[in-house]
């Protein structure tokens, strides 16, 4: 029963986000600030993780190819499939649930604890629109982060395969181009878009409706990470079933 109430409250929050909009000039600055905090601020960690995990995927594939009949180009093919289909959209989104999600929950939660949200409400400002809407708009740029993660993941795979002596550059590129289905990119970006909405709204929900003090802000951040990850995994399963099967 409690979960149903929470889900209902989440959808009521979403409704509240889109009514009574904030003044356009103020909103523009808020969106730019959120893009800086949520998107630009995440690029460093995403680039680092993508490059090295891409490399590990290539090495693991190479080390598990015992059969000499298997072509070396398979390393490029397997890296591309793993990175584009799952690693970049899903794995990076779960990392972002930790980084961006806990940032959103703790910043909104702190505003709740210190009565800053009440101050907005008293002034007659729709605090949900003021706080959550700019985050949703900023997260529309999230697919660019995932595109960078895809590129760097494959680059990491190429570097590890070629400089580790597992395949030549030509073999890796042949594998990359082998049996490429463009719809898989559409699928990857479609689910990235859904994950972006989850990443913006679920942590906002846990921050906005939290009660208590500083300790509870920490607890809300942890809970937010857990539930954002759960919903990303569930959405991933449902979207994969719907779009690929």
């Amino acid at each position: 029963m409690g979960y149903l109430k929470e889900i209902g409250l989440y959808f009521m929050m979403l409704k509240g986000v889109f009514i009574k909009p904030t003044k356009t000039s103020v909103l523009r600055n808020l969106v730019l600030k959120e893009i800086d905090d949520l998107i630009i601020g995440s690029l460093g960690i995403v680039c680092f993780i993508s490059f090295f995990v891409g490399g590990v995927v290539a090495i693991q594939t190479a080390l598990n190819m015992d059969n000499p009949i298997l072509p070396k180009s398979l390393i490029g093919f397997a890296s591309r499939q793993s990175i584009i289909l799952e690693f970049a959209p899903t794995f990076i989104s779960i990392i972002m649930a930790g980084k961006v999600g806990s940032f959103i929950t703790s910043s909104i939660g702190t505003m709740r604890v210190t009565e800053q949200i009440d101050a907005l409400e008293v002034m007659g400002i729709n605090s949900l629109n003021y706080l959550v809407f700019p985050k949703i708009i900023a997260m529309l740029f999230y697919p660019f982060v995932i595109a960078i993660a895809m590129f760097l993941g494959i680059l990491g795979g190429y570097t590890a395969a070629v400089f580790g002596g597992f395949a030549t550059g030509d073999q890796f590129i042949v594998g990359l181009q082998d049996n490429f289905i463009p719809f898989q990119l559409v699928y990857a970006f479609l689910k990235t878009f859904v994950f972006a909405l989850l990443l913006a709204t679920i942590p906002s929900f846990f921050g906005y409706y939290m009660k208590g003090g500083a300790l509870e802000v920490g607890k809300a951040s942890t809970t937010s990470f857990v539930w954002t990850s759960v919903f990303i995994i569930l959405a991933n399963y449902v979207l994969t079933q719907l779009l690929l099967s």
Binding site: T22, E115, A119, V122, M123, G124
Partner: protein, 256 residues
């Protein structure tokens, strides 16, 4: 002026937090709501602010009931309210100046230069020195309260609400903040309502005092009449402070 007529507020259960309060808060006066913790002070203040919808009864702001206004008029009325929160509630990502200009930025079409000019006027009025470009975390609690007051009055409100404005401050700063609120109330001729349980504030600025006890209005009067009341609840509350108890004992001894 704010008139409260038979205000009742509950939260779904049988028990009401506010059990039929009727009173008037006059313009140009510092009106204090006092009472013990759990007496319903905060719920009362939130009803007055329009954050809680009354279960029964009406609140009239210069004759207009908030709940009966159109959303547009409710918004206009809200813009006429200023609030000083217990913890100041300053936006910690904004400088002092930006915090004070915030209501102007949200509700007026003023240019930045005009907003800055108005902000500097109120900054001067609340005696904030060399703090314009500082973040709230870089200034003292007393200065934060001054910023909160400046933010509350920058848009020329008709109603000023303060929730425990001097909590967490040393006695001298607390008195300065109390006096500043009273001066501003007289100067701007606004209706000020202060939620407090600080007896020093009562003695300093209590031009009208409303005493709440378990959701009822148990007594109302002023700082001049609070010590002569025979209402036992008020007397117990007033003399729960050691200082006031000792003063009273000394006075009684003198008379004997």
């Amino acid at each position: 002026m704010i008139e409260v007529k038979d205000l009742k507020k509950g939260f779904g259960g049988d028990e009401l937090v506010l059990k039929g309060i009727s009173t008037t808060f006059e313009k140009g006066k510092t009106n204090l709501i006092i009472g013990q913790s759990g007496s319903g002070k905060t719920v009362f203040l939130k009803c007055l602010l329009g954050l809680f919808r009354p279960t029964e009864g009406r609140i009239l702001y210069d004759g207009e009931a908030y709940s009966e206004l159109s959303p547009e008029n409710q918004r206009t009325l809200r813009e006429q309210m200023g609030m000083v929160f217990q913890g100041s509630a300053l936006f910690d990502s904004m400088t002092v100046e930006e915090n004070i200009m915030f209501p102007l930025k949200m509700f007026t079409k003023q240019r930045k230069a005009e907003r800055l000019e108005r902000a500097n006027e109120v900054i001067k009025r609340v005696n904030l020195i060399d703090a314009n470009k500082k973040l709230p975390s870089e200034i003292s609690g007393g200065m934060q309260k001054r910023v909160a007051i400046a933010r509350a009055i920058v848009n020329n409100p008709k109603y000023l609400f303060c929730d425990e404005p001097n909590s967490g401050l040393d006695p001298r700063t607390a008195t300065l903040i109390d006096n500043l609120i009273q001066e501003i109330t007289h100067e701007y001729d606004i209706t000020t309502i202060i939620n407090t349980h600080d007896m020093n504030s009562v003695m300093e600025i209590g031009e009208k005092i409303v005493f709440l006890q378990k959701g009822h209005l148990a007594w109302e009067g002023s700082k001049d009449t609070i010590f002569s009341t025979e209402n036992q609840d008020v007397t117990d509350f007033v003399y729960s402070s050691d200082l006031f108890k000792k003063v009273r004992e000394a006075v009684i001894k003198d008379h004997q």
